[in-house]
Structures are given as C-alpha cells and as structure tokens.
C-alpha cells in the first residue's frame, strides 16, 4: 500500500489493538483464576433437573399404579446418576458407587386424609442382580423381618420396606413411626410386579452347609470384601454356634490356582495390617491359613476353585469345626 496513513488512522489502530490486548489479558487472568467451587451442582438450589433425568429409560416411572389408594404424589420424581447421587444420600453414595450403581429415582407420596403422613420411594438401578444384592444385604437391618408377601428378597424394618428384584434395589421409607402398613406393602407389591428382572438364584449358597445357617445374615460383596480390594464376589453368611454367631464366606474363582493365590494374598494382607499368624493343628484341611486379628480368628483355605473362609470369629474351636464342616460339605457336593 503506497498511500500514507493519517495520524487519526494510526491512533485508532493503536487504540483497537490496546483494547484487544486488554481483553486478552482479562480473559487469561479470569481463566487462570478458575475456581472449581463456583461450578458446583446447583440443581437443588435452582430447581434445575439433573441431567440424569435422561438416563435409565428402562426404569419404571414412580407414578400410576404404584401409588396406593388415598395417596398422591408430593412433588416431581427426582433422578440421580453417579455424579449426583451424593446430592441425595451424601456419604452413603460410596457404597452404591462401589457396587455398580447406574441410576436412582425417588419420589414422595402423601396421605390425602393426613398430609403430615408421607412416604418416599427410592428405586436404585444397580446394573445387575449381584450388585443389587450387595447393597441390599450390606444394609440389611438386624431387626428386619422377612416379607414373603412382597418377595423372596424383601424385608420390613420398623417404618420401612426394603426389597430387590433383578438389578433393582428399592427402599420405601415412611414418615410415620408405625410399622410399615398395608398401603406401603401394596406399593411395594405393585412396584415389584412392574419391575423387570429375573429372580436371583444364588448357587453359591449350595456350597455351604445348611445346618445352623442364618439366612437373613447373608451378605454379598461385589468388591472390596473385608477391606481387601482383591476380595470380590464374596458370599458371607452367619452360623449359629451356641450363643455366638460365626461368619463363613465362599467365593467361586476361575480356577484352583487363582483360588489358592487369592487365599495367600488375603492372608498376607492381614499380616501386613498387623495380624499374627495362628497355625491350626490337625484340621485335615490342606493348605489352611489362619491369623489372629486383634483376638479374632480368620481362617482361609481353598478347595478346587472355591475360596473358603471364616471371618472374625471370637470362638476358635467353633470356627475350626465350621471350617471342617465346610470342607466336608464341599467334598460331598462334588
């Protein structure tokens, strides 16, 4: 360009470049001071619905037939995903997230004749039946009463009903101090029938002796059993031994080598935690390992591809007897 620039043009150009430079510095500074805390899940403060509303399209809607007669919905259904679950149940979310949680729906219903009385339904999609069993069994209340009128995997505990079917785990919690009544049971039955999922068949139970087994104490650890990250797919159940209860566990591994290796790894884990080796004599159980954990006895052994054990037993001789029974049962089952 041959013509000379005017002074005004030069000044205008410099001003525009300065403005652009300032804008750039401002944007850079703001980006540099990005504050994670400012971008929190504000859903509950603004009334926004979680993005999780779009997930779990297979979930049954908490409406229609599941609402007992005389009750009405108290508000909209809430939907939570793994990002937002703790906005509903806070610290308890960890248990679900570690167990394969997919989504959760919740809704409250109130008694039209007595609006002070209401109940809330929590419908968890745990992805697969064994994950549902994990959260069902690990939270099972000791005082809970089996509720066969609802289902095989169901119990009531005071004001609440808990059950599972297929990948679904359900809690129905009432605001009333009364025992869960007919309305809640009807809601549970209706919800159960509308949920798709196979009844859980738990073949591992057959790997343990039946006598004195306390079925309601059954626990399933899909991961991190007894605090050891490698101990997954563990079925644990208590046995009555006189006045005391003893917990036995079993896990089916892929092959005998893996079962033996896992038994050794768990034993080493206990020793690293400060447990002391506590050798047992004349049990007749090949490769048995045992450790004293702060006065409690831990027994581990494998039989074929099954990993067996006794956890935190306070009665040593009863624990050893149960371990021998477990091995004899395993031999019989073969």
């Amino acid at each position: 360009m041959n013509r000379n620039r005017s002074r005004a043009e030069t000044i205008s150009g410099i001003v525009i470049l300065c403005v652009l430079f300032c804008l750039g510095v401002w944007i850079f500074t703001r980006a540099k001071h990005y504050n994670e805390s400012a971008w929190f899940g504000r859903a509950h403060q603004t009334g926004e619905t979680s993005a999780a509303a779009e997930i779990a399209p297979d979930a049954v809607e908490l409406a229609g037939e599941i609402i007992p007669e005389g009750y009405a919905a108290m508000g909209d259904e809430e939907v939570f995903d793994s990002e937002t679950l703790s906005d509903k149940i806070n610290g308890k979310a960890d248990l679900y997230l570690e167990s394969g949680f997919a989504s959760m729906r919740a809704r409250r219903f109130f008694d039209k004749n007595n609006p002070e009385t209401w109940f809330e339904v929590y419908l968890y999609n745990m992805g697969e039946p064994r994950n549902a069993l994990t959260v069902f069994s690990l939270q099972r209340r000791k005082e809970g009463r089996d509720a066969p009128e609802i289902g095989a995997w169901a119990y009531t505990a005071g004001n609440a009903i808990f059950f599972m079917k297929g990948p679904w785990y359900v809690e129905i919690v009432s605001s009333s101090e009364d025992e869960a009544g007919a309305s809640l049971i009807r809601c549970a039955q209706s919800l159960l029938s509308s949920l798709e999922g196979e009844e859980l068949v738990f073949e591992e139970l057959n790997l343990l002796p039946k006598d004195n087994m306390l079925h309601s104490s059954l626990k399933y650890f899909s991961s991190n059993g007894f605090g050891f990250h490698r101990l997954d797919r563990i079925l644990a159940v208590n046995y009555q031994a006189g006045e005391r209860e003893i917990m036995a566990f079993v896990s089916v591994r892929d092959n005998p080598e893996e079962a033996a290796e896992l038994a050794n790894a768990y034993y080493k884990f206990l020793l690293e935690l400060g447990a002391e080796s506590a050798p047992l004599q004349d049990t007749g159980i090949p490769g048995i390992l045992s450790a004293d954990v702060l006065g409690d006895l831990e027994i581990i052994f494998n039989h074929d591809r099954m990993l067996y054990g006794i956890h935190a037993a306070t009665d040593r001789s009863a624990a050893v007897n149960l371990a021998i029974r477990m091995l004899n049962h395993a031999n019989t089952e073969r």
């Binding site: 504050n35 400012a38 929190f40 610290g91 308890k92």
Partner: protein, 341 residues
Amino acid sequence: MSKETHDKAMSRREFMERIIKAGITIAAAGALGLQIHDPHGPYAGGASGPARLGNYKVRGLDERMAIIHGSDRRQALRRAVKAIGGIESFIKPSDRVLIKVNAAFALPAILNANAHPDVVSEMIRLCHEAGAKDVRVTDNPINDPASCFQLSGIKDAVEKSGGRLYMPRESYFRPLTLPGGSLIRDWPVLYEPFEDVTKLIGISPVKDHHRSGASMSLKNWYGLLGGRRNIFHQDIHTIIMELAMLARPTFVILDGTMTMMTNGPTGGSLADLKQTDVMIASTDPVAADAFGATLLERPLTSLPFIAKAAEAGVGTLDYESLRPERVSLEDEHNSTQEQGA
C-alpha cells in the same frame, strides 16, 4: 482490490464513515458484553469483602461439659445448658445468636438424620429468655433446602419459637480461606447469616456416617460449605478438622437421645436407631464428639477427625478432664419428689 483503489487517497468523508462504522461495531460488542457480564464473578455471587467466621467463645470462661440422661429432649436440653453455667453465662441481652443446625436431609424427624425440631425450638426459646436480640437458624443442606427444613419439622419449630430461618441462597456465600488450611482456600462459605452475629451454637444428632465414620458436632460445620463440597469426601477427616478451626462456637448441643447406629448418614429405618437417652452440652466440640463416639460404640481410632481436631488445638479428646456434670433427669425428679414429700 485494484491498484487504483490502493493508490487512491482516502477522503475525509470516507474516513468519517469508517470511524462511525467501527464505533458502532465496538459499541455493539460492548453492549453484548455488558449483557452477558456476570457482576459477581465466579464466586457464586456473594457480597464483596473477605469473610471470617471467627471465635464465638465467651472470653474468660473455662471449658465446660454436661452429660444429661433422659428421654425428654426439651427437659434434657434445659438441664444440660443449666449444668454448663446457665444460658445467661453465654447469651447477653445485646447478643445476636446464630444456631447452626444439621438439617441435611429431607427426612422426617423420627429418623434422626437431622437436628430434632424440639431441641431447635427449645434452644431458640432459651436464647430469647436470656434476652437475645436476634436468633437465627441456618444450614446448607444436602437435599433441596426448602424440603429439608419443611419435612424435618425445623422450619415449623423456628417459626413457632420466634427464630429467623436463613435458607441458603447463592448470594449468602462468600469465598473464604482458612489461614494455614490446605483445603479451605478461596472456598464459598455460608456467610450471610453470620453478619453481626455475636454468638454461635451448634445443634446436631449423633449419627453413623458411611464416609467419616460418624456425624456429630464437628461434622455439623460441613453444612457451612458451598460449592462442589463433595470433592472433600476424598479427605473427609482433614476437611472436618479445618472446619473445626474455622468456626469456634459458643457451645454445642449434641443430641444423643436417639443414636443412628447403622446406615448413616441418612438411615431410613427406625431399626437403624438406638435409644441412648443422652443430651450433651459442651463448650468444647471435640470433647462432645469424643463422648459421642461412646454412644456409637466406636473407638476414637476409627474416627480420626476427632483426634485431628484435638491436635489442631480445637479441644480435648479427654472429655473427663472437663469434669462433665452428669445428671439423670429421672433420679433428679425422684429426688425432688422425695424432698417435697
């Protein structure tokens, strides 16, 4: 563009036209910027200025603690406050009091997941009886705040006893840094209810907590945090310790009338609760929690945040060193009746 055009000198008129067009463009860009400008910046819109929570302890008063046995929450609370010196020792007529309750969940009072409304209302009455100018109640719940305060019965309790409920809004939060803290750095804290406050009281239930092991007096301050506070779950014991350093209350009330033994912090079933019939008042929240651990039947080693808070100088693990006054409401009642007879 042709060579001719290049060579042609720009006329004054043409220059003015270009200047006007450029001006309009800049003005439009500025107007658009103004339209989308967030005057509050990325700090969730709080008021300006540094926030401080500070120390609300009564100067010159030694640490005190009371352990009251009884099932009537109102009576037990009154007796507990009397045992640590009476409400007049703490609240003066000119005081503005903030009661930080645990109202985390939209659950009914019977589940013991929140501060009990009877305790909240009775504490408000006590403060008014001492002549407090203003009694405020607040929390930043986990669930929807309106539902939490309504369904827990706390909203009703506050309104009927003459308190003022501060439900959290974005504008109530201010960024705050705990000097020497590793987690609370430039983090939004529920500050507005603290404006002009002269006394701070904490009220919380005794609960199991899946992540921290327990939720009692110290964990109650977690409800002052805004932002994506769930990220602190990764270092829960440190954040509870830092919160304990941040807010030094006048005293705390730890309600162990019912204790949530399992499936905390939400529970869900009455079967998660155990009737323990204890009300604790303490100027030392660490001591209160150390005693609370006994109600949960947990060793202190399983609740590291209590020892951490003690190490940080917030209080003592040895609650017996405070020589807590122990009273059984039933025994006291029987004794009074015998004297009357």
